[in-house]
Symmetry: C2
Subunit: 326 residues, 2 copies
């Protein structure tokens, strides 16, 4: 029997829990520990794998790859470089504008520690990025479009919940079908923010709250809702629990272009996900496998999904893959 | 100014012509010569770039990568190993069952000559293979489906043309919409050959040919049509020219799977192509760029699309790609 790849999880929110589930579908890997900043005794699913983050260094010889499951905004910018001093890492850093800066920091730390760190893994950034890049490469004369949804936006949901009179709420980003069809037709439309997506909110108000004011406050919120056509639905606590407990998401990357003497060509990649965090977690686990293999080959520093050949993501051998899937 | 990547084309059919057109969209490359087995004076577009294949060895120091544009069945199996003795190569070997054997042969030749050869580049095998592999990696518990079309099948068109009384003809493979919808619904259907695709033929008969006999002969042809629902349309020479001069193709790779506690997840990749050969050619050119870069790094032997990180396909730098497309 070959040795398993030993994995650690840092952070035990939706993403960390998703990674734990995904490990069960990947028998070549073994989960060794889950690191949390909370008191271990206070984590709801407290079990033998839970370890306080202060002890992470003790696991240096035991864990091949750490999967960082914190959020970009606060956790990763700090945790990433700290942990890359000690371990190979995989993270889902998704603040697009700050990727170059974060990459440089991780590159510097991982180069000097001799570890390998892959950043911004997931589906966007991640699989969507790969498809944007592929579209640009194969159809240099063309245009690409990314649509998100139908899916829950955590940031927009949070913004709703901060409004006075709102007890709870959830926001779905929904691509406009008409815009999708325009893009697919190959006419390379220029689409405004408003034309691409609508925002649909389900709001549970406090008793006696002024619904009209809540609705106006949402629709006029700059950055979040003002530039969009926003639909506000008020619902009951029961409806919220029954209909909005899942975390669906998805989207489309479409590249339309022209080759030769004006032949239209179209590439489309899409995702339709019942659980956004579980899907992202499955991707993180696959890239952890690649990082393990590449690190064994002596690679170190920082990298992204653009740098990883698909063979490294699979537990199968290159010759099996050629035979079965090429 | 940096040096351009010097490209040679071997074979000047639809694919070779497509590569020539694609070169114009990739200004970091330069077409140095087109090698043909025909007498150069007899090639319709005879120009300064046309060279008889017997002189290929003279270009050893002038060409970085040869793009082989012959067909798998006859040309590549022989030409591939011969040319890999002298040059880095890219080909579109597409006889799926013979890929392992062809790979081993190319690996052996290219290893000993110190060249780098990528085989089976295009969209299937090629981009579709990448998406089948990705689906298997990210959703280990799932099922994948490939549908082809609507598009012209050269082999089936040829089979029609060999029938007595047929002057000309063309065959389109068309995915069955109902089957696609079943797959997308996530119920993991078992689909027979007949349920997945229909075959639609447009036949120009000889004067006085027996149309009933032609139709029966097509529909009952084993391997080609017998296992499918086949539609035969008889058309005039004018209709054939007017409506069937293009070479459209496309298709779908769909992976449906389950994560965690039964959440359904779906990944779909699709192509909709006005010109199959021009699109395939664009892919060949991008992989020629990767082969050039990897060969400069000292890599040799045989490889496939599974082994190539997307960064190598692009003329842009890794940091530009991270900034613009991640």
């Amino acid at each position: 029997m070959t040795n398993k790849i030993n994995i650690g999880i840092v952070g035990y929110g939706n993403l960390g829990k998703g990674v734990r589930k995904a490990m069960k579908q990947n028998p070549d890997m073994e989960l060794k520990a889950i690191f949390t900043r909370r008191e271990v005794s206070q984590v709801s699913e407290n079990d033998a794998l839970m370890v306080h983050i202060s002890k992470i260094e003790d696991y240096k010889d035991e864990i091949d790859v750490m999967i960082l499951c914190g959020g970009s905004a606060t956790d990763l910018a700090v945790q990433g470089p700290q942990i890359a001093e000690l371990f190979n890492t995989v993270d889902s850093f998704d603040t697009h504008a700050k990727i170059p800066e974060y990459f440089d920091k991780m590159e510097q730390v991982a180069k000097s520690s001799g570890n390998l760190s892959i950043i911004s893994v997931g589906w966007d950034p991640g699989l969507f990025s790969l498809n944007r890049l592929l579209g640009n490469i194969v159809l240099p004369e063309g245009k690409d479009y990314t649509f998100w949804g139908k899916g829950v936006s955590q940031g927009h949901s949070d913004a709703i919940r901060r409004i006075e009179g709102v007890k709870n709420g959830i926001q779905y980003t929904v691509p406009v079908e008409e815009a999708l069809e325009k893009v697919r037709s190959g006419i390379n439309p220029e689409l405004s923010t408003r034309e691409k997506h609508i925002r649909v909110c389900y709001v549970l108000p406090e008793t006696n709250a002024d619904l009209r004011i809540i609705e106006e406050t949402i629709k006029n919120m700059p950055n979040y809702f003002l530039d969009y056509d926003t639909v506000v639905n008020f619902i009951t606590e029961d409806e919220l629990k029954r209909d909005h407990a899942g975390m669906p998401h998805g989207g489309f990357v479409i590249r339309t272009g022209v080759t030769g003497d004006g032949n239209n060509q179209k590439i489309e990649f899409s995702l339709d996900l019942d659980s956004n965090p579980e899907f992202t977690s499955s991707i993180l686990v696959a890239y952890a496998r690649a990082i393990y293999k590449l690190s064994k080959e002596g690679k170190n520093g920082a990298c992204t999904v653009f740098d990883i050949p698909y063979t490294y993501l699979s537990p199968k051998s290159p010759s099996e893959l050629r035979k079965e899937l090429l």
